[in-house]
Structure formats: structure tokens, C-alpha cells
Symmetry: C3
Subunit: 254 residues, 3 copies
């Protein structure tokens, strides 16, 4: 398959170049993100300090902004990181965790998209719908909406803000102004571990560090991620053993 | 067994209703709590921001306050969460982690119990004794006291503050003004992984979201938790492989 | 072997005395550190609050300062902890995570070494070289330098600041003013999980709590840690399953 070869190529490049992915992210899933990126062959770094942002972004190949647990201080840090990343032309991948669950999260996510050049936004259907102005009900940070109902809104949003959008779910959907691609790889165990969405965002950033086309990078990363999940699920007893096998797959598969 | 059927019922209800459990909690064990609640079938959400508390508590079915790593900002956040939860009539489950290890923790825990309606307090014997005024020696956040010596104090405390109390340990003890129940399920591996106490607190909150009687909810959750630990220990090589099997048990067992 | 017997002795003492290790540390790897120390038999406690530092340091047998994700508030907390630990004569083990990756981290690490009595510094070769004034390039928080090039600098630094230094890497090197020891135990999987460096620092602290000679404690802890890694790697499929087996080894091996 052409796409499987492209995935292999991207991963070989990640393992060779070890792109540095700066994560401004929530405390809940930091460990999972860092381990996932290491398994993939990328170099993770986490920061919560403005003083070192410029040094780190200079070194970074991509910047992940994840709004999992946000407060005023964290938002200020993210704003500074986005301004620097835009200035230094490092791509930003945004994960608007819980947009729709609280107005605070929805508004904050939109502020980032309106005020900075974001390359890729990755969310579940609830989050993407909340950002694109649809009126929906959200259950915490988990999605309760069918992914496909979000496609039309996502594409309009993509055109308006010049971002690629990944809607993760049972079927993953990747859109930008001109393209739509769907992926049905994955496993029902994936939403049963915390941080699968957060790590996907970071993996997309790692792919985008070596594949400059943001739609292409999003597609390859999402397909690869789903394939790893599908393989891992075959021999798992439950979510926790699945998580271990899934990380091992990220390490081995290519 | 009557109690095993009640446990099955509660879990079926949790899996069906997917109650949203808001956790205001320490960074050390967030990942474990979130994964444990997902395994159980509940929906976890973590927050560290006052701005979204009202939105989240409105949606939440129970609120967990865990004092694992506390500072002034965190305490203010917890106070606001408790006030809102009391106002919106959402039950609060409190984990006074490390009460007795520092005066700061003991005093803070007591402030919450004195100033807000707490439904259930879950601690180890050292912590419960510290709160109920006994003079004890504590070793960090681990308990060094026999659980049973805490029963009398706990029951007086329960009457005074109208809370159900779970004392976790080799033997788990659940008391309220009128009832005492003990459980000897569990495994010596449980205290060898960090966060087993924290996750029990969150699991009690999930049970209380579907079982309105707080004593009953505490008993069923604690029995279930111990049973999962006992099963998981049978095939484990050490604490880390135990943790994986234990989470898988929370997912499968019922 | 003499050294293997000494390791056995130290571990037996740790399991018996359960030394309390206070960790002032980053959020990414807290869970791994806490679980690793519990497996070893030590008692971990994490804190982020000045109010309880004095109580906790009074109880602690060693204090770990880990600069994984630092900001001004965290630095102030660490300074207060170091001052108290020096006053109360509790040994400090410092992990200057990412020194060299940002000037902020390098400068902060040096401030601690200049202003407080630090017993042991544990870093990778990049970090130790950055601290000892060499001009190097760093990739995030991972090392890209051969460990052995750091020995001469480390020993000068050790004499100047009266610290023992552990340089972790493919070959681990432990130096103080009068001694050098190398260890080649370990596995290529160790740098593929986040926090292996952080946990080694905490394990060194636990050994130093029972073995007063800081060079000896550093050597025994580092050898033991590498041996556990080497055993665990033999039956692992990838980094995540390795991590589980490694923690189980810390628990079982002695």
C-alpha cells in the first residue's frame, strides 16, 4: 500500500531525526505522552515555565498545546508559547480538551485559534462541534456525539482558520479545505484509557515534524495510531494491559 | 450472596449511566484515578481552575477532594468546589491524604469537614486517627497504625460530622453513626502501588453516584475494590504487573 | 561478590527501615518515582507546599530535588527545602534535569549547587557537562554526549563542590574527589521510558538513607538499578512492558 509505505518512511525519519516535541500540556497525561513519544522515536520535552520557552522553542521541531487542565497561568504560558512558535515558524498542534464541557474551555480554545496560526487541531467530535459553533451536550471530557455529524462543520472551520482538523472517534476523520479522509482502524479499548487523545495529538506533531504537509502528516499519524491500537487490542485482557501493548506497538511497528 | 448481587447491580448502573466524577486531586495519582474510573465505566474529569468549576459541578454526579499535594491555591480551589457542590447538592467524598504527617494537612482536612457537608471520608488508619484527635506517629503518607484501633474514634467522628467513614487497610472498615462493616478482601500488593487509596476514594464516589445511601455505597465500593485486588494478585509477579491486572479487573469484574 | 552482598545488605535495610524520601519533583514522573520507591521498600512523599516542608523534612531520611519542570514558584519551594534540609542535616540528592537544554535550567541548577550543601548530583552526560562549564549541544532533556567525555569535568566539579556525581548513560559513571567507578549494567530500553533518570535519583537517595557514605551509596544504587534493568529487558517486548518488569524487579531483586 502506498499509505503504509509513507507511514514507514515517516517513522524511519522520526527515528533518525528524533524531532524534539515541546508539550505544554496537562498533568494527567504527561507521563503517557512522554512515553508514547519516546516509543515512537521522538524526543519529548515538557515545560511550564515562561523563562525557558524561547530556548526550548528554538530547539523544538513542533509545539503541542493541550488544554486538559487549564487555569489563567497556564493560558498565559500557552499564549507566550504560541507567539514564539509563530515567530520562529515552528508548527503548533492544538488539543482543545473538553471544549464544550465548560464555556471557559470553549472560549479559551477559540481564542488560540483566532489569535495564532495553528497548523492542526485535534479533538473528538464534541470538541470540534463546540468550536465550530454547534450547540451540543458534552459529558465531561469524553465525546457523546457521532463523529460524522461533525464533518461539515469541521470543513467550514478548516477553511476559515486555515487549519487541518483531526476528529478522533470510532471513525477518525481528517479534513482540511480540500480533502477529507476517514480511518476506521482502532479499538473500543482506546477510549478506555486516559490520554489516548492527548497522545494522538503529540504523535501528529511528531509526524508533522518530518512531513511538512499538515493534512498528510495528520492522515499518516492517525492511520498509524489506529493500526497500533488495533494490533494491541488483539492480545489484551482489558484497558491496562492494552495500554502496555499499545505503547510497545508504537515502539515496534513500522 | 446478597452483597455480591448489589455490587453487580451498582456496576451495571455505573456502566449504563457513566456518572461524571469531578476530581480535584493531586498530580501524582491523577493518571491512575482517571484510568481506574474509565475501567469501572465512570467518566472522570480533572480540573484545577475556578473558572470552570460551576459548569463542571453542574454536570458532575459526585465530587472527589483529594489532598495529596496541597498548597494555598489548591485549597482555595477545593473550598470553592465544596461550596458549589453543597449548593448544587452534589455529594463530596474527601481523601485527607497525609493527615497526621504534617499539621498543615491535618488542619486543612479538618477545615473542610467543619465547613462543608462531606458525604464520605476515606483515609487510612493514621489519617482517620489524626482527624479524630488521637495523638499518633505517621510515616509520610503511609499508615503505620492497626486499622481496628481507629474504629471507636471513627464512629464518634462520624456521629459528630454526619459522614460515612472508610478506613482502608489490611482490614477495611466502614462506619457511620449506626453501622460498622469490615472487609478482609485485598492483597499485600495494594499498598505497594501509589494511589490505591486515592483510586478507592474515586471508586467510592462512582458507587455513591448510583447508590444514594452513603454507607451502602461505601461498603459496596470497598468490597468490590478489595475483591479486584485479591483476584489480580493471584497472577502477579510484583507491584507493577499487579497494577495492570488490577485495572483490568476493575474493567472486567462483575 | 563483595559488591552484590553490599547491595543485598542495603536493600534489606531499606525494606526494614522504610526510609522516608521527600521528593520535590516534576509532575511528569511523580507516579513512576513513587511506585519505584514503594517497590524498593522505601516510603515516598511528594510535596509542593512550603507550609508543610519543615514537618516533612523533619520526618524525612533524604530529600530529592528534581528540576524536571521548573518555574519560579517551584524554585522558591526547592530553595526553602534545601535550606531546611541543610539545617536539619538531611542529605540532598539533586537531579538537574535538562541543564544545558535551557540557560534557565543550567543557571538554576548551579544556583542550588553553589548555595546549598548537596550530597549527590545525578545527571546524564549533557547535564553534567553543562554544569561543569563545557559548551555542548543538548537535545531536549535527553543526552547526546558520550558519558566518558564528562568524567574529567565531573571530577573537577566534584572536588570544587564536595559532591558525589553520578553520570547516567550507556555506561554509568560515579565519581567523587578520590574515586571513580563505572557500571555497564543496564539496557537500551531504559532511556526509552520517561523518568528512568528521575527514579535512579530517588533510588540513590533511598540507598543514601541507609548507607552514609555518599560515594558508596551512589555506586550500590546505580549498580543495582542497572542490574534490574538488565534482567527486566530479557523478557520485554518493548518499552512499556519493560517498565512493568523493571518495577517488579526493583521489588523482587535482592
Amino acid at each position: 500500500m502506498l499509505q503504509e509505505m509513507k507511514i514507514k518512511n515517516s517513522i524511519a525519519q522520526i527515528k533518525k531525526e528524533r524531532p524534539l516535541i515541546l508539550n505544554i500540556t496537562n498533568a494527567v497525561t504527561m507521563d503517557f505522552i512522554a512515553n508514547g513519544l519516546l516509543c515512537l522515536g521522538a524526543s519529548p520535552v515538557m515545560s511550564k515555565s515562561e523563562q525557558e520557552l524561547e530556548d526550548l522553542i528554538q530547539l523544538a521541531n513542533a509545539v503541542v498545546i493541550n488544554l486538559g487542565t487549564l487555569d489563567e497561568k497556564f493560558i498565559t504560558l500557552c499564549q507566550r508559547a504560541c507567539a514564539l512558535a509563530n515567530h520562529l515558524k515552528k508548527p503548533i498542534v492544538l488539543d482543545p480538551v473538553g471544549a464544550g464541557a465548560s464555556q471557559y474551555r470553549t472560549r479559551t480554545s477559540l481564542d488560540f485559534i483566532n489569535n495564532f496560526r495553528i497548523a492542526i487541531v485535534k479533538g473528538n467530535a464534541s470538541e470540534i462541534l463546540a468550536l465550530s459553533g454547534a450547540s451540543i451536550k458534552t459529558k465531561g471530557v469524553e465525546s457523546t456525539v457521532q463523529s460524522d455529524s461533525a464533518i461539515k462543520n469541521a470543513q467550514d472551520f478548516s477553511v476559515l482558520h486555515e487549519v487541518a482538523i483531526v476528529i478522533s472517534g470510532k471513525t477518525d476523520i481528517i479534513v482540511d479545505a480540500n480533502n477529507i479522509q476517514q480511518s476506521t482502524y482502532g479499538s473500543p479499548l482506546m477510549p478506555k484509557i486516559t490520554g489516548t487523545g492527548c497522545l494522538l495529538t503529540a504523535v501528529i506533531a511528531a509526524f508533522h515534524a518530518v512531513e511538512k504537509n499538515r493534512f498528510e502528516a495528520s492522515v499518516l499519524a492517525t492511520l498509524f495510531y489506529g493500526m497500533c491500537g488495533e494490533s494491541a487490542a488483539k492480545t489484551s485482557q482489558g484497558p491496562a494491559s492494552f495500554k502496555i501493548k499499545f505503547l510497545d506497538e508504537l515502539y515496534e511497528k513500522n
